[in-house]
Symmetry: C2
Subunit: 326 residues, 2 copies
């Protein structure tokens, strides 16, 4: 059994807990938290320890899956933990990935561990899909559409507006844009042409709804570049219809084959997820299996999903793959 | 430059020729044929040699891409050529893959070469898609739909019917079946529920069309288990509308996440190809790049696309991937 540590216990941590529990070849060694462990009760009654006690588990954890935020936590946590354990993280700050890779690579090589960064579905499965599509169709254009799904960052931005008690924002791909790419066009889209934004708002008692709507629609970067619709709903409707964290999206590549590019081709990869954090947790768990195997081969340093043979993610045997999945 | 040999020069060989010619890091060393080389003229004027002269090119070819049939050629050609060169093949006889893998593995290991078998889109990209989807969603069901596209085997079967001058068969996925999987159902489909068959026939002068249609629709295995429509057209219409080899298809997985499987998820990978053989040739070319790199690392034996890190397929650098694709 591969013994998994879970560092950080939010939505993704719970997703990892579920996926590891259901995996035939893995078990949870402990959950590590920076909160008071007594205040954290896990869904499966997995042991909860403080982040500072991690060192005491060096012989009891094969891979540490770090379920923490990319903005302020992962930049220091991933290298620090890679100095002691094999790690998996879901670092998603695209512009800082090269720097993060280097930091984890150095820490892991010095410690003789291995780590895979930026796992999940974007970055992660979407990145792989872009790569496979471009490898087959080097001449072409790629497009990533997100949604329909909840964007936590946009929901938070609306919640900060005066008079807003609660809010949920859905990112929605524009069907016409998808259809143009599927038809083999290579359009240069504006942001507005690719995605719509739908906002559900619970206003505070007596708040000026017109003012709230105006504040949302004109918010630079977050909403101004998009067509946004705002729906005011009751707290009860919010609780009944908008408490999930569904998400998904599509990666498309339209490209040419043939000596003179005479043939058009489209490749499309899509996800439709009831729960974004649980699917992410499931991929992190598969990545933990892969990095464990890589570490067992004596390899050290940082890896991405680009560097991992797909078979390493899979619980079954190579013979099983040859017989049933190829 | 990676120097590519092309063994076999049919539609897929021409697809490889185009893809290698357009690749920034590859060049064609020679095309090898079992026909009279003087009778074969290549699109790019690549050198044509006889199959039996292959040994003389041992120092001039880095990877041999074998573009031959799975039924009778690849079972002996791939191990034989792997005894001299790194190879790529598109072996697609699913039930015989384990045996073929073993034969290539033994030949390659003995010779110190490396070979990747069963490349293309199915087996190949579809297989990888099944694997990634199942690694993320171990609890669930996978479905493969083919089409809309030309099935050469079914077209040939119709051409053998008395009174048929020419024929083209399209395999078409049933939209309702796709929609049921996308909706999160896990149906057990009959063949008829997943695919339709559309046949375009040029009848010989004076042939009994009703009899031809009956012979097609009742043909065991090929057509009887499906709803088949037969269209009689002129030779001119065949030449104008049905000379291409479009194909494509979709791999879907519907599966659950959460401790008790409380969340539904669907993963979908789809291809829409103007030319089946040119897209296949493009993947074989990317696989040649990968097996060259694997061989340069000193590894030997047989591989599949399951065993190849996606980055190895890509012409660009690892830094490029981290900066632009992750």
């Amino acid at each position: 059994m591969i013994r998994i540590g879970i560092a950080g216990y939010g939505n993704i941590g719970r997703g990892v807990e579920a996926a590891v529990t259901n995996a035939p070849d893995m078990e949870i060694a402990a959950v590590f938290t920076r909160r008071d462990p007594a205040s954290v009760s896990t869904v499966t009654n997995a042991k909860v320890m403080t982040y500072d006690d991690m060192d005491s588990m060096k012989d009891d954890v094969d891979v540490m899956i770090i379920c923490a935020g990319s903005a302020t936590d992962l930049p220091w946590m991933s290298p620090e933990i890679a100095g002691k354990f094999n790690i998996v993280d879901s670092f998603d700050n695209h512009t800082k990935i090269p720097e993060h890779f280097k930091n984890v690579d150095e820490a892991a090589k010095a410690a003789g561990t291995a780590g895979v960064i930026s796992c999940g579905w974007d970055p992660g499965y979407f990145s792989i899909s872009r790569l496979y599509a471009e490898a087959a169709l080097p001449e072409g254009a790629s497009y990533t559409f997100w949604g329909r799904g909840v964007s936590q960052g946009h929901s938070d931005a609306v919640r900060r507006i005066e008079g807003v008690a609660d809010a949920r924002q859905y990112t929605v791909p524009v069907e016409e844009a998808l259809d143009r790419v599927r038809a083999g066009e290579h359009p240069e889209f504006t942001k507005r042409e690719m995605h719509l934004r739908e906002v559900y708002v619970v206003a505070e008692e007596g708040a000026d709804k017109a003012k709230i709507e105006e504040a949302i629609k004109t918010m630079p970067d977050y909403f101004e570049p998009y067509d946004t619709t705002v729906h005011f709903i009751s707290q009860e409707e919010m609780a009944a219809d908008h408490m999930g964290l569904p998400h998904g999206g599509k990666v498309l590549r339209s490209g040419k084959t043939g000596l003179e590019g005479e043939f058009n081709n489209t490749v499309e990869f899509g996800l439709n997820l009831d729960s974004n954090p649980y699917f992410t947790g499931s991929i992190l768990t598969a990545a933990a299996r892969a990095i464990y195997r890589i570490s067992e081969e004596g390899k050290t340093g940082a890896f991405t999903m680009f560097d991992i043979p797909p078979a390493y993610l899979y619980a079954g045997s190579h013979d099983d793959l040859l017989e049933h999945m190829l």
